[in-house]
């Protein structure tokens, strides 16, 4: 039986209450609240706690857990499960995420709703980084749009995971949770609400008969309706370019239609997808625009700067892909200087600069030392940036 388009969370899955919980566990609870019923993962630090808790929690509600023989087995098992109706998730870290690119590309092309938790960490060891922020968007070959959410706390690891599942189901697109080693291994206060307060979105199934059903036909900039697997709809889910009927014969017009639609369904709906948190922005003259765990020192830095008379606000990008263009442009229209904060040698700052298009100066506050910025480093960077 297909799930209803919208439903409240299942009380049997939701551990309502106030917790002091590890970030990785909070992500799992988010997935459980969201209705995840299939998980496949391969051991990798610092994502192991996700697999471990999923292996305990899923069987409690009749879900399925697989330790895949490698990351490829994991992402492809998720693809298969998702196409057969499951709400599927995998979890890995940066090194393992590398292996999943083709698998993600497959999911983008056949429009399989899969959630991928990627706990970003440095090469070879478990230090903090944002170096993969572009790979999250461009890692797979081909044309597609990524949806990447960036939690900055244990609470957001829970909340954004539910958001991720809802986005995946709505748009029939993979959604990546850009977790980080910092928040994944941190323990913090987590409030899990009553199940009645948690709303879930589920994919739409077709009402057409197999004779009339076109698996990849959809209104412009929307996801196609799904059909149940092995029930007579004889659909080909192929990585090859295909037309609305799923045929994989080469036709440049069909090729163009396909890629315009699967990118359009995200691009054109970006204002509905994107969320930002504006913090101390009402009277701000300047803004730090950032994402993930860097939001925390940014906020503390803003408090310190205000003590010195600099009216700084912080704009948290809750999702970095698609780029929240409208929100960023709005910030550029309000403040006189934007500081783009990230833990790499300067990657997403380019996107912000692109969107701002020179309207106001955008200074990158970047470092790649395996450590989150301290509030004092941010304050220092702002002062230097202002001087220049």
């Amino acid at each position: 039986m297909p799930r209803p388009l919208q439903e409240q969370a299942d009380p049997k899955r939701v551990q309502t209450g106030v917790h002091f919980l590890l970030g990785n566990y909070a992500l799992v609870e988010g997935a459980m609240s969201a209705g995840c019923d299939f998980f496949a993962g391969y051991p990798i630090t610092p994502a192991n706690e996700i697999s471990e808790r999923m292996s305990q929690r899923l069987p409690q509600v009749g879900g399925q857990f697989l330790q895949g023989e490698d990351e490829l087995a994991s992402i492809y098992a998720c693809a298969g499960a998702a196409l057969s109706g499951a709400k599927a998730m995998t979890a890995t870290a940066s090194a393992g995420f590398n292996y999943m690119q083709e698998g993600l590309g497959y999911c983008y092309t056949v429009e399989a709703p899969v959630v991928v938790a990627n706990v970003m960490r440095t090469r070879g060891d478990n230090f903090a980084t944002h170096a993969d922020i572009m790979q999250l968007r461009y890692g797979a070959s081909g044309d597609y749009e990524a949806i990447v959410v960036c939690p900055s706390s244990v609470q957001e690891l829970y909340d954004y995971t539910i958001w991720a599942f809802n986005l995946a189901e709505t748009y029939r697109n993979p959604v990546i949770i850009a977790s980080e080693t910092t928040i994944a291994l941190m323990r913090e206060r987590l409030h899990i609400p009553q199940p009645g307060a948690i709303w879930l979105q589920n994919r739409r199934y077709t009402e057409k008969t197999p004779a009339d059903y076109l698996p990849f036909a959809a209104k412009a900039n929307a996801a196609p309706d799904m059909a149940p697997l092995a029930k007579g709809y004889h659909t080909i889910y192929s990585l090859n370019p295909h037309d609305e009927a799923g045929r994989i014969d080469w036709d440049p017009d069909a090729f163009e239609r396909l890629y315009k639609r699967i990118t359009g369904k995200i691009r054109e709906n970006e204002p509905q997808i994107s969320r930002v948190n504006r913090w101390m922005m009402d009277d701000a003259d300047m803004a730090i625009v950032t994402y993930g765990s860097e939001v925390r020192p940014a906020r503390e830095a803003a408090v310190l700067l205000r003590e010195e008379g600099i009216k700084m606000g912080v704009v948290q990008l809750c999702n970095v892909w698609p780029v929240p263009e409208g929100a960023i442009r709005e910030v550029a229209g309000q403040v006189g200087h934007i500081f783009a904060l990230e833990m790499n040698l300067g990657k997403y700052v380019g996107e912000i600069q692109r969107v701002v298009a020179g309207k106001v100066p955008v200074t990158g506050l970047t470092k790649n030392r395996g450590l989150v910025h301290t509030p004092w480093e941010v304050v220092q960077g702002v002062k230097e940036g202002v001087r220049k």
Partner: protein, 476 residues
């Protein structure tokens, strides 16, 4: 009366003629497969067929079923996901030797190990055909291919043996020259519960045939395949020289209906407590905040040696503060070699308000239970911050700020286990500073600590409380 081959009803007829080369074994195997479907009266529309990338991988695209296609080597990974979520869907995988055994090798052995309830039909044309005839792990020794122009120097897998060693419960090998046996084998596989691998050695007239066997004539190649294979039953009577370079065909293994591990149709529901590892998520209600002798926020470092229970102490403290005290807390800890036998530390920030940066430069309280840890973290403690140290483990330098030496290890040893020193410290901290109350500490020990250690830990905490009370009343 129709003049069409009636088995075309299983195919997407609008796509015929199919793209396989003239005389290709893939076309024949497709025919054998539909023959098996017909004999069994199986509905192709109620199946999932899977092809990866390659010539063989294109076979299922012609079947009128739901099909996954287009990614090289991952057919069994797809199948595993589907089988776990919808175990009743019959799955047939059409895989070439390159797709299944080269790039897909890892998934093959694991699917066989799991006895995944699928049928794998491997059309073994002894090369990577679609990409032009490169050598494959199944190419016979000495063969000339596009990437072994001087003759293949690597021995070939015996894929049937490989699958059996990995745990497959149904393995057969036949050749395209044996249509009757192929159809019967496929039928057995479709009815088998568990992992079935049907290897069918097949002619590739366009590539392997021309390069390795110097012939593009399908009939000649079919004869070569037939002549270079021998029935299993005859193996005993053949000399090694006679068997050299040839493949045995027959039923290698057919263990009836062993339930696959991954495709159980009755799913067990496990309950909290079924696993000794079951995470506890029972949550106490948020009570009134504990009266604290200290202002908030409090930034603590708990440090010591790996094995002293530093992390547990920090987690209990944080859990109590949040779930019983109604406060906010953030805990981070060191990992890696630093946490094993070397120093170990956890940082805890506790506040009434949500905490911004989880990392604090200057700490308000340092708990040091080991000398090296004390030396490492003392500089981060504010000059007027609180130092609490274990008198048996640490000799602190003189300082101006409030300093408390607690005989935690000595007390724990007296209680029977030196590992309870961390609980003595927590008792002390609770009574002396009120970050959490002693009652909250006991409550959290009861709900979070394994029952084997509960009594010891509660006694240790109480001993720490008693030490702190003595301190109040005149101290050391």
């Amino acid at each position: 009366m129709s003049e069409k081959n009636p088995l075309r009803k299983y195919l997407r007829e609008e796509k015929l003629p199919h793209f396989f080369c003239s005389g290709c074994g893939c076309g024949q195997v497709l025919n054998y497969f539909t023959q098996a479907l017909e004999t069994l009266q199986m509905d192709v529309e109620q199946m999932l067929t899977i092809g990866g990338v390659g010539c063989t991988a294109r076979m299922p695209v012609y079947l009128k079923s739901d099909t996954f296609h287009g990614v090289h080597g991952r057919t069994l990974a797809w199948a595993t996901g589907v089988k776990m979520h919808q175990p009743e869907i019959p799955i047939v995988i059409f895989a070439g030797d390159g797709d299944l055994v080269s790039i897909g090798g890892n998934h093959l052995i694991h699917a066989a190990r799991r006895n995944l309830d699928v049928t794998v039909i491997m059309v073994n044309n002894l090369n990577f055909a679609m990409t032009g005839g490169q050598v494959a792990p199944t190419t016979p020794l000495g063969s000339v291919t596009m990437t072994t122009p001087y003759g293949n120097e690597e021995p070939a897998f015996d894929v049937a043996q490989l699958a059996m060693a990995a745990g497959a419960t149904h393995v057969e090998r036949w050749t395209t020259s044996r249509p009757v046996q192929c159809e019967q084998a496929i039928r057995r596989a479709l009815q088998h519960k568990g992992f079935s691998l049907i290897e069918i050695v097949s002619q590739c007239p366009t590539h392997f045939g021309r390069y390795a066997l110097k012939s593009g004539d399908p009939g000649r190649l079919l004869k070569w395949i037939h002549d270079n294979s021998y029935p299993l039953e005859r193996a005993e009577k053949m000399s090694d020289a006679e068997k050299q370079g040839k493949l045995a065909v027959g039923i290698f293994r057919h263990t009836p209906n062993v339930q696959g591990s991954v495709s159980v149709s009755q799913r067990k529901i496990y309950h909290l407590g079924d696993s000794p590892l079951s995470g506890k998520c029972e949550v106490a209600g948020a009570a009134a905040s504990a009266p604290s002798a200290l202002p908030y926020p409090q930034r603590l470092t708990l440090s010591g040696m790996g094995g002293q229970g530093i992390i547990l102490a920090s987690v209990l403290l944080g859990t109590a503060a949040v779930t019983l005290g109604g406060l906010h807390a953030v805990q981070t800890q060191s990992y890696g070699s630093e946490a094993r036998g070397g120093q170990c530390q956890a940082e805890l920030i506790i506040d009434r308000e949500p905490i911004l940066s989880p990392v604090a430069q200057q700490k308000d309280l340092l708990l040091a239970m080991f000398s090296e840890a004390y030396h490492k973290y003392i500089s981060a403690l504010k000059p007027d911050g609180i130092l609490v140290y274990d008198t048996d483990m640490v000799q602190p330098e003189p300082r101006t700020g409030p300093t408390f030496g607690v005989p935690a290890t000595k007390t724990a040893v007296e209680l029977g286990n030196r590992l309870a020193a961390n609980m003595v410290m927590l008792g002390f901290l609770a009574e002396r500073f009120g970050i959490i109350s002693p009652e909250q500490l006991e409550q959290i020990i009861v709900s979070e600590v394994d029952e084997r250690f509960r009594e010891l830990d509660i006694n240790a905490a109480r001993a720490g409380v008693a030490l702190a009370k003595k301190w109040h009343e005149g101290g050391e």
